[in-house]
């Protein structure tokens, strides 16, 4: 006969909805203060955003893995593969994208400092966020200039397989960068109305840094293969 009453099993505290910090699936806690005028942020992120960003990055990785395998197969399938000199501005763009990531990281650190209540005059993190956003935009503009330079040389999308892959890979990466810029704008908006979650900030930062890594990978791939 089933009559014994037992306590529910022990589970990880972060999954325990009855915990006072806002529960396993997020909550009012974990909010990052706007300009340092909110209570300290807890070092606890709602897992869905933290998990979700890795799911997104896995998906993007698969997409570019598919493009890479396409490039390798296509290169070996015919003799029409010709050398293509990458525009120099791509190297400048690389530095710009890295600088953008650096700015975002600086913003993150300041937010962490403010949220921890450790230092009140550590500066307005939104300035760094705007810097990251501007540099990200500059990267996209720089990519456009690279495309324009190729076009001026008579290298269009369909000119040869090298140019095809160059345009496709850089354009798809640029679309993802634009998505990241949207994420940065969202962070800035949430920051200004004090509804920014730490997990949102972290996820945006991971995504943005991943764009750096992805771009370096593409640059090396294009440099080696094209």
């Amino acid at each position: 006969m089933a009559t014994t009453v037992h306590e529910p099993p022990k589970i990880e505290s972060q999954r325990d909805p009855s915990q006072s910090h806002g529960g396993f699936n997020g909550g009012g806690q974990g909010l990052v203060p706007g300009k340092g005028n909110l209570p300290a942020v807890k070092h606890y992120s709602p897992p869905p955003a933290s998990t979700g960003i890795w799911v997104v990055l896995a998906s993007i990785t698969m997409t570019f893995a598919a493009f890479t395998s396409a490039l390798i197969v296509r290169q070996g399938s015919a003799l029409d593969w010709r050398h293509l000199t990458l525009p120099n501005i791509l190297y400048v763009n690389t530095l710009v994208l890295f600088a953008s990531s650096f700015a975002l990281e600086m913003a993150r650190r300041r937010i962490r400092v403010i949220a921890g209540g450790l230092k009140a005059d550590s500066g307005d993190p939104s300035r760094w966020l705007y810097t990251a956003l501007s540099l990200g935009l500059l990267f996209v503009v720089g990519q456009y200039i690279a495309w324009a330079q190729l076009r001026a040389q008579g290298l269009y999308l369909a000119t040869n397989p090298n140019s095809s892959f160059f345009y496709v890979l850089t354009a798809v990466h640029a679309v993802h960068v634009l998505g990241g810029l949207g994420g940065l704008l969202r962070v800035i908006r949430k920051m200004s109305n004090s509804t920014l979650r730490k997990s949102t900030l972290d996820a945006t930062a991971y995504y943005w840094h991943f764009m750096d890594g992805l771009w370096v990978y593409l640059l090396v791939l294009l440099w080696v293969k094209l």
Partner: protein
């Protein structure tokens, strides 16, 4: 139960406007119903197209009244042209694979029940969830719009093999704008599925309520979770393939069209592309897609069977591991679709081996079902009948897979009706039976009314007999050398097969008509069915613990459930009968972990 007074990720206020409630809803339950509605519309269209094809195959010069309404040039005098037959075939397959077999068992039921089964208020990213449905609907509309371009939809088959799919109008009717719309539709569809997978994975990993460990998830939830991981990786590969295909069309690139390709006496202005590249990219998605269609069905059927057997599976964990093994192996076997593509024979062997290995987890799943059914006092109802039918179809279709897995045999059977019979049984009909089992089982929870059991059983027997009457003869046709994708059977050696084709056509018309019983049952029960109790099947999982039926906006009212048990505490003595619900603190027996 415990408080949910705190704010939650994914939490959103109950909608007040009609638009927010029924159209652009953030509620996973409404989105699940929207997916189901889309799948229902799609399956009726897909079935109608198959009827037209079967009529043509049985009676090649038959005038089908009104056929010209579907096409500008494809049905002079209402008689189907060969090209229009291929266009209908392509649309039938695309609609069924993407918008029915992927949409209904995974996106529809998964959306509705996964958050409830894990004990959450909603998915963590409800806006993405809403977008996933609307993006999928747009994909469907884009696909259907190809009926309205000048030369109609593409005729290249759902696999869209290059180079014909990449050369444009010269490839035949529909190979211009039709292919572009097809590829655009599928690329958009991929976006929707990726958004859905993101939500499914995070819901399973992070939204589980107190006490809901992974091993306490019902098998249906495991099915959706495993499928979402497959979807994440498979659709992320198909989307770039579609982008490259579109570029070959609209930008003149040469990804898939080789140099010196002459089609219809015209030299193609492409150079150096690889036709095999498309096949690799497509089948890297395409084979996991088979399991994306079937694994949710496996989960649903397991869930339905456990509830109706009133006993657990022989091994819950082994079943989960087997489904996981299917998912992993599904990426390693895709080359068996390309045995006749001219690949190195060693490559064929490399792909043949895992293809044979994948039969091991499939067999384990079947043996667990069969072993669990042995000695069980199964409740016979529409849901359990369709669950049994699923197993039957899966076995019947799976057995022919053994033959096709071996290159030496596949070379003979490739592109024959044997293959068509194989995949229709193991992927198409089995998955459809999983959808039906889920519908009869969960309809009471979704709409608060019971479906008519008598009509359900009639529907089952007609479908069961009808499906075998259609698809078993396909195997014979294939062995007799009947090539697939032919619109007529002119060669002499095929003449004696035509009576069998006529029989299949009659069986298809009969089986299709039987589905109208289901549609009738669905709509009439929705409004006039017997009111359902909260737990009509005496189930244990969390969807049967909601405070109301259908569940309220936030699923569990003011309190989230606390889970004490695994979901298969059946055949025990408890205060409620022969089962203990997951939310009950009652100890079910000496082995219960509660």
């Amino acid at each position: 139960m415990h408080d949910t007074a705190h704010a939650h990720v994914g939490q959103h206020a109950a909608p007040t406007s009609f638009i927010r409630k029924h159209v652009f809803s953030l509620d996973h339950k409404v989105i699940g119903k929207q997916y189901y509605g889309l799948a229902l519309a799609a399956v009726l269209i897909g079935m109608f197209l198959s009827w037209l094809m079967r009529l043509h195959l049985g009676w090649t010069n038959l005038a089908i009244p009104g056929l010209h309404l579907l096409t500008k040039n494809g049905a002079p005098g209402d008689v189907m042209t060969p090209e229009f037959y291929l266009q209908l075939m392509t649309m039938h397959a695309t609609i069924m694979v993407f918008f029915v077999l992927t949409t209904a068992p995974f996106a529809a039921f998964g959306n509705y029940f996964l958050p409830i089964q894990v004990g959450a208020e909603d998915m963590p990213f409800p806006h993405f969830n809403m977008m996933s449905f609307w993006v999928t609907l747009v994909a469907f509309l884009v696909l259907m719009s190809s009926f309205f371009v000048s030369d109609g939809p593409t005729l290249g088959g759902w696999t869209q093999y290059a180079p014909l799919s990449a050369v444009g109008q010269v490839g035949g009717p529909g190979e211009g704008a039709g292919v572009v719309l097809w590829a655009l539709s599928i690329a958009i569809f991929c976006v929707g599925q990726l958004l859905g997978s993101l939500n499914f994975i995070t819901t399973t990993l992070d939204m589980r309520t107190r006490g809901m460990s992974l091993w306490r998830l019902p098998l249906s939830a495991w099915g959706w979770f495993i499928t979402s991981v497959m979807g994440l990786t498979a659709f992320a590969v198909l989307m770039p393939a579609c982008i490259l295909l579109i570029l070959d069309h609209v930008a003149g690139t040469s990804f898939f069209v080789p140099a010196n390709t002459v089609i219809n006496d015209q030299m193609q202005p492409h150079s150096g592309g690889s036709t095999l590249l498309w096949q690799h990219l497509f089948w890297f998605f395409g084979h996991p897609e088979v399991y994306i269609a079937i694994v949710p069905g496996m989960g649903i059927v397991s869930h339905v069977l456990i509830t109706n057997m009133r006993k657990p599976m022989l091994s819950h964990r082994v079943l989960v591991y087997a489904m996981g093994a299917l998912a992993v192996l599904s990426y390693m076997v895709y080359g068996h679709h390309m045995f006749v593509s001219g690949m190195n024979p060693v490559s064929s062997l490399v792909f043949s081996f895992p293809t044979l290995v994948i039969t091991i987890p499939s067999t384990i799943v079947v043996l667990i079902w069969m072993g669990s059914l042995y000695g069980a006092k199964l409740r016979i109802n529409s849901a359990s009948l369709f669950a049994l039918g699923f197993i039957s179809m899966f076995i019947a279709g799976g057995v022919s897979g053994f033959f096709l897995a071996q290159p030496s045999i596949d070379i003979m059977l490739h592109a024959t009706y044997f293959v068509v019979g194989h995949f229709h049984l193991v992927m198409g009909v089995a998955a459809m039976f999983g959808i039906f089992a889920g519908t009869y089982f969960w309809f009471p929870k979704m709409y608060g009314r019971m479906m008519n059991e008598t009509l359900g059983k009639i529907h089952f027997w007609c479908s069961f007999v009808g499906a075998y009457a259609i698809f078993m003869p396909f195997h014979y046709l294939g062995l007799a050398g009947n090539v697939r994708r032919y619109q007529a059977f002119a060669p002499e050696y095929m003449q004696h097969l035509i009576p069998l084709h006529k029989f299949i056509t009659i069986a298809a018309l009969f089986t299709g008509a039987a589905q109208l019983i289901f549609v009738y049952n669905l709509f009439v029960s929705r409004y006039k069915g017997e009111p359902a109790r909260d737990n009509p099947w005496q189930g244990t999982s969390l969807e049967w613990s909601t405070p109301t039926t259908p569940p309220p906006h936030n699923n569990f009212g003011d309190k989230l459930p606390v889970v004490y048990h695994d979901p298969f505490q059946y055949g025990v003595e408890s205060s409620t009968g022969d089962y203990v619900m997951q939310t009950s603190p009652e100890k079910a027996g000496p082995d219960d972990e509660a």
